[in-house]
């Protein structure tokens, strides 16, 4: 039997009105502007841009305000907005070697050309709550030194001379785009990287951690981690040349991993790669570890059956919007589904009771 149920409109409208009121909170406390969120909660904004897969700090800040700080809800809003934008085209690949670096460190080469530049990092802080921030504190000005304006070379370049690290083959192949074609497996490294770059930070972190704990361990060193801005260029067909259409902040991580060699390749270091919108250091390191783990097949390594080696498992579960969509839908009305389950369980219980009665009667008779 199908029963159509209507109703709930008033309850829904009132729930949304209350949501708006709760979002605002105590009106005696000043309202947050999206510009305040953009400037002062910039790492949250970066996460929403990275996982929303749309670089626009103003929109990400607005989404955070609208979602009351629920970042996955904010990412959902950005993903939904993204689908309304006409796609003007694809940019030229950004040249991270040209990055204006705010931060650039290497865990493998102390004396890397360009130096170890810490940038505005949480590293080496004591992780003690700073109660001065609770009061309106004056911000001390950051010290300055002689600026270095030339490009900072990638550290992997220095190892490539001896072929002691694998080369990244360049290619003009058009990379797959999971926003255009549904994902199929094997996905290939380009689609894997796209999926990881927009994947949930927590999930990617967990997968990366699992490789460190021994599930497909790949002995990663952070060869290089850099954060800074790069120009973005696009070919303008009407002009016949490429112009810069803006700048994005990126975090790039390149890992150097042990590799014992294979039948065709002598022992050399291999690489994992992470590239993420914004200042998203944890995510980019995790992405590089998972990228490396997923490369087992092309490097001729054994499949150890580890979750982080399973491309289909990782890519199918990395997207927090897909995941939360499916997870949260089970709280929406399933009255009819449940009604049929209820009927079924009642029937089974009735049958079980009948069977028990029959058996008991037979036993008594014997």
């Amino acid at each position: 039997m199908y029963v159509a149920v209507k109703g709930g409109e008033r309850a829904i409208d009132n729930a949304h009105a209350w949501l708006a009121e709760e979002r605002r909170g105590d009106t005696d406390v000043a309202e947050l502007s999206y510009a305040q969120i953009r400037e002062q909660l910039s790492l949250a904004v970066n996460r929403v841009m990275a996982e929303g897969s749309l670089y626009d700090p103003d929109l990400a800040a607005l989404a955070i305000k609208q979602s009351r700080g629920d970042l996955i809800e904010a990412i959902f809003l950005i993903r939904a907005y993204r689908t309304t934008l006409p796609r003007f085209g694809y940019t030229l690949p950004v040249e991270t070697g040209e990055m204006a670096c705010d931060r650039r460190i290497s865990a493998t080469f102390k004396d890397a050309p360009g130096g170890q530049v810490l940038g505005p990092t949480f590293d080496y802080t004591h992780r003690l709550l700073d109660f001065k921030l609770a009061a309106d504190g004056e911000v001390p000005e950051a010290p300055v030194a002689d600026p270095r304006m030339e490009a900072t070379p990638h550290i992997a370049e220095f190892l490539q001379g001896e072929d002691i690290i694998e080369r990244e083959p360049s290619s003009d192949a058009v990379p797959g785009d999971l926003t255009r074609e549904p994902m199929s497996f094997p996905a290939g490294r380009a689609v894997r990287l796209q999926s990881l770059a927009r994947g949930d930070e927590g999930f990617i972190l967990g997968m990366a951690y699992s490789t460190q704990r021994g599930y497909a361990r790949n002995h990663a060193f952070v060869g290089e981690l850099r954060i800074g801005t790069v120009p973005v260029e696009i070919e303008i067909p009407e002009l016949g040349f490429a112009v810069e259409i803006g700048e994005v902040e990126l975090t790039e991580c390149e890992t150097v991993n042990q590799f014992k060699g294979s039948k065709t390749v002598p022992p050399q270091f291999t690489r994992g790669y992470g590239l993420v919108f914004g200042q998203s250091e944890r995510k980019s390191i995790a992405m590089a570890l998972v990228d490396r783990a997923l490369r087992w097949e092309e490097l001729g390594e054994d499949n150890l059956g580890a979750p982080a080696q399973d491309e289909e498992f990782v890519l199918s579960h990395a997207d927090n919007i897909q995941a939360t969509g499916f997870l949260e839908h089970i709280k929406l009305p399933h009255y009819v589904d449940f009604q049929s389950e209820l009927e079924l369980v009642r029937k089974l219980r009735h049958e079980a009771a009948e069977l028990a009665e029959t058996l008991a009667a037979r036993e008594a008779a014997e």
Binding site: V94, Q116, S170, G240, I245
Partner: protein, 150 residues
């Protein structure tokens, strides 16, 4: 109408306009004063472009994620065509960029460059230098501890 300029120069001013702060651009554009009549060839529209990266920073490309861009095209009364391609979703900024792109191809170039582009370029350079100077102050200077007697 058209004065001489190279593709490289045009690329330079379009790039500068693309990443300019909108409020500052509007200020300089208003101070410049002239607002020539023009006709839209393509009214400003906001959209997205897919930003690509390279595996390992130097290898094959992959799709990283999108960014917002607003574009438009217009023609001045003398037929000069200007394009605006700017980061973000501001139609007003794209419009200003397209007008400046058109005017930079005309006799107005020198004056416009002095009034709008040069200040923008100087401010961009100052911003980048200030950031690089802060980064430089966080560069680690290693020193070796000598222990014991040689």
């Amino acid at each position: 109408m058209n004065t001489k300029f190279s593709a490289e120069e045009r690329k330079g001013w379009m790039s500068l306009l693309a990443s300019a702060d909108e409020v500052r651009l509007a200020e300089l554009w208003q101070e410049y004063g002239a607002d020539p009549a023009c006709e839209w060839l393509r009214a400003p529209e906001a959209g997205g472009v897919m930003v690509r990266g390279r595996m390992g920073g130097s290898g094959a490309s992959f799709n990283l994620g999108e960014m917002t861009v607003t574009r438009c095209a217009l023609s001045l009364e003398d037929g000069t065509v200007g394009h605006g391609y700017v980061q973000g979703r501001s139609k007003a900024k794209a419009g200003m960029a397209a007008k400046i792109d058109a005017l930079m191809q005309t006799g107005a170039a020198a004056g416009l460059s002095t009034a709008v582009l040069e200040p923008l370029a100087a401010e961009r350079k100052a911003r980048k230098t200030a950031r690089a100077a802060k980064a430089a102050a966080t560069k680690v200077e290693f020193f070796t501890m000598v222990r014991g007697e040689d």
